[in-house]
Structures are given as structure tokens and as C-alpha cells.
């Protein structure tokens, strides 16, 4: 089906077309959300919310951006909202536990398996890296996650984030530098212990 007819069909609420959209993009959206939230159940929920939002706001879809770019954008926004809510909850728990036990290491590694696509021999390193990614400024985290986890090119990331290619390159450069420093400090502390 031609793209404009496809979009018109979605805007009319045609169930078969919507199903086709979901089947086509569900893996990409799920994988993207998983890359951000690092929890399979949360990622499933978020991915569903992405398609619900797409269904409800298809009328506002602008054809200049492709459907996949638009869906990625919704997925990124939903994932970031989820992470912000989680951080706010953590801050509150931290305040409650302020007079509790001693310092935790800066990069504590979670126990649960969070991404099934990582080879066994890389799991510990990948968990550590993903934990370090959480400490990056938001835009750097988005660019790095879309590139490393979802495999988008810098050009595709620029379309999703609505910025220039050079801006994405700059974000990636700073993200890598930030992560290397975090990891260096972690391994250095680890060696001393």
C-alpha cells in the first residue's frame, strides 16, 4: 500500500492497518524501550503505551518524518518519562533511608537479567555499562542508547531527536568520554578494594 494511503487508512482507524503497523514495528519499539528501562516487564508495558499513543494521535502525524521515526520519538519520550518517575521514587526512598546504612558503590550492578540479547560472557560488563549510561545527561543517553542498543545510524538518530547530524556526533563524543571516565573510576576503585 502506498505510504499516504497507508497513513490515511490508519487515520480512519482501520483495525487491519493498525495491526499491520504493530506487527511491523513492535520488535523495534520493544527493543528501544528495553534499552532505556532495562526491565522486560516495564519495556512490554511501555511498548504497548507507545502504540496506544500512536493510535490516539495518528491525526497529528506529519508525513515529513517517517512512521518509524515518529514511533521511535514516542518510544523515547515514554521511556524518559518512565525513567524520570523512577528517579523521583528513588530520591524519595533515599530521603527515607537517609539515616540508614553506609555508602553504596556508585555503580551498583542490578541482579535481574535485563536484556536477553546480550551474550553470556558480556552480561556483567553490559550491565555495568548500562548502569553507567543512566548517569549520562538525558540527550547523551538517548543518542547512545539508540545507537548502541537499537543500532540506529547517527543520521537516523538526528531525525528522531530532531537535531543536526553534527549535534548527534557531539552528543556521542561526550557520551563516550563520560562513560569512559565513569568506568575508569569504577575499575580503579575496584582494584583498590
Amino acid at each position: 500500500m502506498r505510504n499516504d494511503l497507508y497513513i490515511k487508512s490508519l487515520q480512519k482507524g482501520d483495525p487491519a492497518t493498525f495491526r499491520e503497523l504493530v506487527e511491523r514495528y513492535k520488535n523495534q519499539i520493544y527493543n528501544t524501550c528495553l534499552g532505556f528501562v532495562k526491565n522486560q516487564e516495564d519495556a512490554k508495558d511501555l511498548a504497548q503505551e507507545v502504540f496506544i499513543e500512536a493510535y490516539q494521535s495518528i491525526d497529528s502525524f506529519r508525513a515529513e518524518a517517517g512512521l518509524s521515526t515518529w514511533l521511535y520519538r514516542i518510544a523515547v519520550n515514554k521511556s524518559l518519562e518512565h525513567l524520570r518517575r523512577k528517579k523521583a521514587k528513588k530520591r524519595w526512598s533515599f530521603l527515607q533511608a537517609l539515616f540508614g546504612e553506609g555508602d553504596e558503590p556508585e555503580l551498583s550492578v542490578p541482579d535481574d537479567s535485563f536484556h536477553p540479547g546480550i551474550a553470556l560472557e558480556n552480561k556483567d560488563r553490559a550491565r555495568l555499562l548500562m548502569k553507567a549510561m543512566e548517569t549520562l545527561p538525558e540527550k547523551q543517553q538517548v543518542a547512545f542508547t539508540l545507537h548502541k542498543v537499537e543500532g540506529l545510524s547517527y543520521h537516523e538518530i538526528a531525525k528522531v531527536m530532531e537535531m543536526s547530524l553534527s549535534a548527534v556526533e557531539s552528543l556521542m563524543f561526550r557520551a563516550k568520554k563520560g562513560l569512559q571516565k565513569q568506568l575508569f573510576d569504577y575499575y580503579e576503585k575496584d582494584e583498590k578494594n
Binding site: 519499539i29 551474550a119 553490559a126 548500562m130 537499537e150 569512559q180 582494584e191
Partner: protein, 115 residues
């Protein structure tokens, strides 16, 4: 120096740990669950619109009734005061007639006037 090189090697290995990551796939029942969730969401929206619609209709009727009551009250007030006004006017006219003996009140007085 050796220690720093070793740490840097670990950092580099960790930085590469996501390089060959395989993309995760959504489960086979993804669409079925999505459909159910969407249906629930749309049902809730329809219910909210219907309740909201009923409230709006009731509010609308309440406003109409209030306006009618007010109009009726204003008209009654105006009519009452108009009547009261006429009564007062007639009373004052009577007073003036009596003061200046302008009205012929009795047959005797009418006969006197004729003379």
C-alpha cells in the same frame, strides 16, 4: 603505569560489550494484549464522555430553569410594582382633588355648584 593500562583495557572491553547485542523481540501475544488494553482504554473514555455528557446536560437544564425563575421573578416584581404604582398615583390624585376641592363628591355640592 601497568595498572592504568590494565584498567583502560577493562574500560575498553566494557565499552564494547553492547557491540554485538541482538535485538530483543516482543512476545507473540503482544498484539492481543495491546488490543485488549486499547479496548479498555477506549471503553473508559466513552464512559467518561457519557458521564460528562450527562452532567453537562443536567447543568444545562439547571441553568435554563434558573433563568426562567429569574425572568418570572423579574416580571412579577415589575407587574406588582406597576400595580402598586398605579394605586399610589390614584391615591395621590384623590388627595389633590380633595385638597383643592376639584372633585364633585356629593349631590348637594353639585347643586351648589350649579347655582
Amino acid at each position: 603505569m601497568k595498572k592504568k593500562d590494565h584498567i583502560q583495557q577493562e574500560v575498553d572491553k566494557t565499552m564494547r560489550s553492547l557491540d554485538k547485542i541482538k535485538k530483543a523481540e516482543a512476545d507473540p501475544f503482544f498484539y492481543t494484549r495491546l488490543e485488549a488494553r486499547l479496548e479498555t482504554r477506549l471503553d473508559k473514555k466513552r464512559e467518561r464522555s457519557s458521564v460528562q455528557g450527562r452532567w453537562q446536560l443536567s447543568l444545562g437544564w439547571a441553568v435554563v430553569v434558573l433563568v426562567l425563575i429569574n425572568v418570572f421573578s423579574m416580571l412579577s416584581y415589575a407587574y406588582y410594582h406597576r400595580e402598586k404604582g398605579l394605586e399610589s398615583r390614584n391615591y395621590y390624585l384623590e388627595e389633590i382633588y380633595q385638597d383643592y376641592e376639584l372633585a364633585t363628591n356629593t349631590v348637594y355640592e353639585a347643586a351648589v355648584n350649579d347655582d
